[in-house]
Symmetry: C2
Subunit: 371 residues, 2 copies
């Protein structure tokens, strides 16, 4: 196995989620917790049933508060280094489900400053352009406009920076170095940045002049930011935010996270039907080398990127998913058919999504918070 | 001599300005340069005649551009860690003279973020309160409202932060450490801060969408910030700012800078006449231990804080200043009379200044730039 490395800016190697949970000190989302959630949501989202959201911090406390009538708000975000991928939509769709079921506000941060500071080749104009494009994808998912605040860091810095320095005063370079692996050659903006990402975890409390619990659904690679924020926020008089951690959707190649920077490993929300078809046709499956061997021995859905796309996104129905997995295992489904089916599913989703994206473009200005 | 240490946050030891100029790599404001300035200003400000502004970077270039019809703007500022002192007014008064003589804009930054980040005991509310109070002193000096922009960092972060990250991307922790003496225990906001102080050196160029030369009159302790900024700005397509460096007004005790944090060494603009009298009465003079010895041997105006207050601020007329110095040297002026005269001068200035300060309070909101 390639050695696992998971930071907010790099995920490499074979990700062992049990080890990651232990390394990061996360709690499991276990059956009693799932039962507790179900009491409020009626049924469980497939990402909970399937362990795609697999770990948490203080989720029990969020439910305690909710049950006492003290509503939380949701906070998640996006680092706009490129176009949105299917993988990015996963925690957002889950967040939308939480918004609907608990009837709560969602604060969505788009960190164009981060991507500008951490990516040598990206200009401030490019990261801001991607930020606007990425916002369209969020809106297209159908969030409740009255309860959803979207903001791009460089357009909302007047609100964010004065709070970020309150966080920054409590973070030494030593801490930032230990948590994020910075060196003496890291630029001073990158070193400061985690303070900006901490702000939405308490800004609604600042504005409301009372403590409001915060729940952050995120990709597990973002946890280090909030490990730091959870240390600092109580020193400023705010609650530690609770977190729900999501696994990475596998890329279309074997192993690893779907990466926005490897265009072949990933489906973008703006891909054409032809591009989707070509990418899926090249995808790694769990099947045998020949049709005959596949019919005889069957394949392995757990390492099959086509099966995993169904599991993470395109087949919410557990029974139908099991049928797909079984047809991979028992050798009855050939790779070509398998891929053609997925292509159809993805393209149907994207046709609809792209339509909503363009509708969102017209009203984008009304969604974005600005100074 | 106590070893000299001059950083933006600490000035200790006996300041040797020649050594400082060599260490920092500054040029002298020499006679040819003074003559060139005089061509435009008619006569020279006493702070130039007396070498209070003693060093520069690229001042010749600023005059070249001005003579070609390409006007510069002025930029200076204040770190609001307490009330304004007489010492703070010195570069501001000089900047006002430049504004009047060259008919140019002045951008004035009040870095409440800096003082909050660097001073453990100051809260964000306190530094913002001081910022407002300090702004009154600037306005009271009579700057041209149409040509003067005052902004407090946390109120103007929406404009500053998006530009600051462009600077920050070019500054590594190594550089910040070498220039400012940071350690691994420095907080990440302090490490980032110099990027915020760099912004007004090019923000007017960003807003005007063309390069406008920038001239920064400042206390020489602030030079390190602009050493860094001068490295970075050309990489962003902007000019290096020019700088004029000012000496520190001596404190009322022997040696050292007038320090806002040592209330007895300094006169605040809000001091009452009684307080001024008491402070000046305790001041260190260059006189002998007894009246008889003073009459016989005379004193040393160069180390006399009373004489130096006249030289830096309260006696712009060179002949009158020479008379004061001579009466100290020849033993004809006794310490008591000397101090009573200065007290009268200071209190006359403050009475007028405090009146203008309170007038400024009423219109403060109209002066401050906000996001």
């Amino acid at each position: 196995m390639a050695e696992m490395k998971v930071t907010p800016w790099e995920v490499t190697g074979d990700v062992d989620y049990d080890k990651l949970r232990r390394d990061f000190g996360l709690d499991s989302i276990d059956q009693p917790l799932l039962d507790r959630i179900r009491k409020h949501t009626g049924q469980l989202h497939f990402m909970l049933r399937r362990g795609i959201f697999f770990a948490h911090r203080d989720l029990g406390w969020i439910l305690d508060e909710y049950e006492k009538g003290n509503k939380f708000y949701l906070y998640t975000g996006r680092g706009p280094s490129g176009n949105t991928t299917i993988g990015h939509l996963i925690p957002w769709m889950f967040a939308k489900w939480l918004q609907d079921k608990f009837n709560v506000e969602m604060w969505f941060q788009i960190t164009d400053d981060e991507k500008f500071l951490f990516k040598d080749k990206l200009s401030a104009e490019e990261t801001h352009d991607y930020a606007l494009e990425n916002a369209l994808d969020l809106i297209a998912l159908g969030f409740d406009k009255k309860k959803t605040k979207i903001f791009i860091d460089t357009d909302y810095a007047g609100k964010l920076y004065p709070q970020a320095i309150r966080v920054a005063k409590h973070i030494t370079f030593s801490t930032a170095k230990a948590v994020f692996g910075f060196t003496n050659e890291t630029n001073v903006g990158s070193i400061f940045f985690t303070s900006m990402q901490a702000v939405p975890a308490f800004l609604p409390s600042v504005l409301a002049k009372k403590n409001i619990p915060c729940l952050i659904p995120l990709g597990v690679d973002q946890d280090p930011h909030f490990r730091v924020a959870r240390d600092v926020l109580p020193k400023l008089g705010y609650n530690k935010p609770a977190i729900m951690h999501c696994k990475f959707v596998p890329g279309l190649g074997p192993g690893g996270k779907m990466s926005a920077s490897d265009p072949n490993s990933t489906i973008y929300t703006v891909d054409t039907p032809e591009t989707v078809k070509a990418k899926v046709n090249r995808a790694f499956t769990g099947q045998q080398a020949t049709m005959e061997l596949q019919k005889k021995l069957g394949g392995n859905p757990d390492v099959c990127s086509v099966c995993q796309f169904y599991r993470f996104f395109f087949e919410p129905d557990d029974k139908k998913l099991e049928n797909i997995f079984e047809s991979e295992r028992d050798g009855s489904m050939m790779a070509g058919e398998h891929k053609a089916d997925l292509t159809k599913k993805i393209n149907a989703f994207l046709a609809e999504h792209q339509k909503k994206r363009e509708q969102a473009r017209k009203e984008l200005d009304k969604w974005l918070l600005k100074d």
